[in-house]
């Protein structure tokens, strides 16, 4: 008998949602020791399925048909008390964001012990031993120190290990992972995936793994279920789905996944740099109450130059200083040292009033499409703001905005609406239009595609390439994703702990990274998909 069997499960959305059912007629089964990956873009209903299994459906969602069986026991009709008993003991869950999955005011060890107290009748001493044992098994250094730590004292990867420990400590038959590595850096992601695989081998549990990342699927799945708009569009063994996809949607999804192989190099950029930084550093001084300062360097001795028509990638993990470098270059924050040139102007220490007229030179597109446009202003008002600040009349600016809307392939009417009426990809188009509205020479894209689904990501990358070619922009592209960087960048700068560790043309750097850190970063990137057209 399979560990988890779902038959024709349908979950209804509340009235007024964009569709009637979050998931419709989805079936799957997982055997012990097997990993099933549910893959799909945002809104596909993949997380709803995980919560339906756990009996944790959000308010307003209702299972309206089908069966969910754990070892043959029906879960949809089970009493809340029975479900509570099963959670933790028979099924464990790992969430995307470990910081919110853990109680911030409780020591990690106590949180695991609480689970054991609820589900077993063990003596306190035995519980204590068990806690240390599981912390050791999830490979946390110094288990006793970890048990005594609060979640905020640990790194993201360590916190996720604690969450995994909590999910696995009662040896459940089923482990549900909902995007467990999405919030983590690639090197950490690799370790966490390895840990889940190892624990699964030891305990022989079934794993229901939810992800949007085809690279992760390629690495860990036995079987794959592809979801789109609440429907299961394709289901099968990993290799069959990845190498010989049947459904149109699966093919599109796979084609949109960027590969690690950079496209053919473009001719090198000529002429002077449009924007450059040399020996730039940024420090923060924390003062105690006596005024004694402690200096932390977020960025040290960084140099960068971008030419017309060129794309420079800055890659690195969180905290590597890549955004700090870009913000210094844009003078959104003041650098502590070094020089910054915008064309012929030296701007590193220019006063804001002198800087303002020059700001049209360099513009930015941010990561989070939900927050990059003012939610209380109509799109049109946001789009003409820059041009008007640089001296255009309202009418000219409005006309220019209309032209730009065409360029980013958005309808004119969008100018009259509020940002909340658009999807993430559309908002990112609007943010690009806003940046272009003041005719910049340099565009900074700070993780501009990281929050988007892969198919949308591909479209935005195309749009960036297109506007770059049309306006001869120098593009600075900041990302944590080596695959995306490979697709877009002419040169790549690798940053680590506030310093540039290596740089070079994309082809050279990807073919033979020299520094140890760069090598580790490349090794940790999710498996390159062997796509059907490559396989031939």
């Amino acid at each position: 008998m399979s560990v988890l069997a779902i038959q024709n499960l349908s979950v209804a959305l509340p009235a007024g949602a964009d569709r009637a059912q979050a998931i419709e007629n989805v079936s799957l089964s997982i055997e012990a020791g097997e990993t099933l990956c549910v893959v799909g873009e945002s809104g596909s209903g993949k997380s709803v399925m995980a919560t339906a299994v756990m009996g944790l459906l959000a308010k307003g969602l209702r299972a309206i048909g089908g069966r969910v069986q754990l070892h043959g026991e029906e879960l949809l009709t089970a009493s809340p008390a029975r479900l509570r008993a099963l959670r933790g003991k028979a099924m464990g869950m790992v969430f995307q964001e470990p910081m919110t999955a853990l109680n911030p005011v409780m020591r990690c060890g106590d949180q695991i012990a609480e689970l054991l107290k609820t589900h077993t009748d063990w003596k306190p001493a035995q519980i204590g031993r068990e806690v240390l044992q599981i912390l050791e098994r999830v490979k946390l250094p110094e288990p006793s120190r970890m048990a005594a730590s609060y979640p905020h004292q640990l790194s993201g990867g360590q916190r996720q290990r604690i969450v995994i420990a909590m999910a696995m400590v009662l040896k459940p038959a089923l482990l549900i992972c909902d995007e467990p590595t999405t919030a983590l850096d690639v090197t950490t992601q690799k370790e966490i995936l390895a840990l889940i695989a190892e624990l699964q081998r030891e305990q022989g549990c079934a794993v229901l793994f939810i992800t949007h990342d085809m690279g992760v699927v390629a690495e860990i799945a036995n079987t794959v279920l592809v979801m789109h708009q609440g429907h299961a569009v394709e289901q099968g063994a990993r290799d069959a789905v990845l190498l010989r996809p049947q459904a149109q949607y699966t093919r599109m999804l796979l084609a949109a996944v960027p590969g690690m192989r950079p496209p053919a190099a473009r001719p090198q950029a000529q002429g002077g740099a449009l924007a450059s930084a040399s020996a730039v550093g940024k420090n923060y001084v924390l003062r105690d109450w006596l005024g004694r300062g402690r200096v932390t360097w977020a960025l040290q001795d960084a140099a960068l130059a971008v030419h017309a028509g060129e794309t420079v990638g800055i890659v690195g993990e969180s905290g590597s200083g890549k955004s700090t470098l870009a913000r210094c270059l844009m003078r959104l924050i003041d650098p502590s040292s070094g020089e910054i040139h915008w064309g012929s102007h030296e701007v590193a220490r220019l006063r804001e009033s002198r800087l303002r007229p020059l700001r049209s030179h360099i513009q930015v597109v941010f990561q989070d499409p939900n927050r990059s446009l003012n939610p209380r202003r109509k799109v049109g008002a946001s789009l003409i703001e820059g041009a008007v600040n640089f001296g255009a009349s309202h009418q000219e600016a409005a006309q220019a905005a209309a032209v730009l809307m065409h360029k980013v392939r958005m309808p004119q009417e969008a100018l009259l609406r509020y940002p909340s009426q658009f999807s993430g990809g559309q908002r990112q188009r609007l943010a690009i239009a806003r940046a272009l509205a003041c005719k910049p020479k340099v565009l900074v894209a700070d993780e501009a595609v990281s929050a988007l689904d892969v198919s949308v990501q591909a479209q935005i990358l195309d749009l960036l390439r297109e506007v770059q070619a049309e306006f001869g922009l120098g593009l600075i592209f900041i990302t944590h994703d080596l695959r995306v960087a490979a697709q877009l960048c002419d040169r790549v700068i690798v940053m680590h702990q506030g310093r540039i560790v290596e740089q070079g043309t994309t082809a050279e750097l990807y073919a033979s990274p020299k520094q140890a850190y760069t090598k580790a970063l490349f090794a940790a990137a999710p498996a390159d998909l062997t796509l059907p057209d490559h396989a031939a």
Binding site: S372, N374, R376, E385, R434
Partner: protein, 289 residues
């Protein structure tokens, strides 16, 4: 569904709006509700029982037929008229105090949140202000400046300002890091415009909610001050003054205290419920549920 529709669907908002609407109408049409001059005393009607049909001698000596719905007090003033006219004072004080406290607090909060240099100085000053008990400050102000409407408003508004300032400052501290604010900076938008167009509109919802709580507490504090004899002059009809006057003969004529209280309690309740409802709808992050 529009925001207005969602607001009206919230039962707390609905209750608050209906009750406050009724009170505002009552205050506006007070002269046509069978009332007499609330300050006028008629020695023939001292402590007239409630519900008595009689006549009321006006200041010019003439006399009109009048029903003492709520009775008369120990000076022969009609309590019904005083309570209805008292609605005007209470609502006026509630609204002006809220507007003054929110207005000043919002400006100071935005300055403190956006400009690091003013922040330390301003917030330490606010901390100092918060250390003064509201009632004590009111007593001192009224004693020094005399009992007038504006001194009472200032006395109630000043202790509220630090709270509003803190709220706005914390909102600004998060909002200033938002990408759309950074983008506006990159678009060369001048700082005052950033504050007015990008930051303030996004801080408005919690501010409105805070405003209702300030108004509710102002209505209550005004009653307390009047009751203690520190609010508006005793001849001005306010609910606090009526209760203070009625307190002396509470054992014989409990209704003199009861009727203003029957207006005061629903008013404060309605404003508070309105605030709770507004917060649930406009500002779900801070909702208790």
């Amino acid at each position: 569904m529009s925001t207005w529709q969602r607001l009206w669907d919230n039962s707390a908002v609905k209750f608050g709006v209906i009750v406050l609407g009724l009170l505002i109408v009552l205050a506006a049409v007070a002269p046509w509700l069978g009332t007499v001059d609330p300050a006028a005393m008629d020695s023939a009607n001292i402590n007239t029982a409630l519900g008595t049909h009689g006549s009321f001698a006006l200041l010019d000596g003439s006399s009109i037929a009048h029903t003492f719905w709520f009775g008369a007090d120990s000076f022969g003033r009609d309590i019904y008229s005083r309570v209805i006219y008292g609605t005007r004072v209470s609502l006026l004080i509630g609204i002006t105090t809220a507007v003054v406290a929110i207005g000043i607090g919002a400006v100071l909060g935005m300055l403190a949140g956006y400009f690091r240099l003013v922040d330390g100085l301003l917030m330490r000053f606010m901390d100092g202000l918060m250390a003064i008990p509201a009632i004590l400050l009111a007593i001192a102000l009224v004693a020094a400046l005399g009992a007038q409407l504006w001194t009472v408003v200032v006395a109630i508004a000043v202790p509220e300002i630090p709270r509003v300032t803190r709220l706005v400052r914390s909102l600004v501290l998060t909002l200033r890091e938002e990408p759309f604010v950074e983008a506006a900076k990159a678009l060369a938008t001048p700082t005052p415009v950033i504050l007015l167009r990008h930051i303030l509109p996004n801080a408005l919802a919690p501010l409105i909610v805070q405003g209702t709580f300030v108004a509710a507490s102002a209505v209550l504090t005004e009653a307390v001050l009047s009751f203690l004899g520190l609010g508006l002059p005793a001849d001005v009809p306010t609910w606090g003054n009526i209760m203070a006057e009625g307190r002396v003969q509470f054992s014989q004529y409990p209704s003199n205290v009861l009727f203003p209280a029957l207006f005061l309690v629903p008013t404060v309740l309605a404003i508070n419920l309105l605030g709770d409802g507004l917060r649930d709808v406009l500002d779900p992050k801070f909702a208790k549920r």
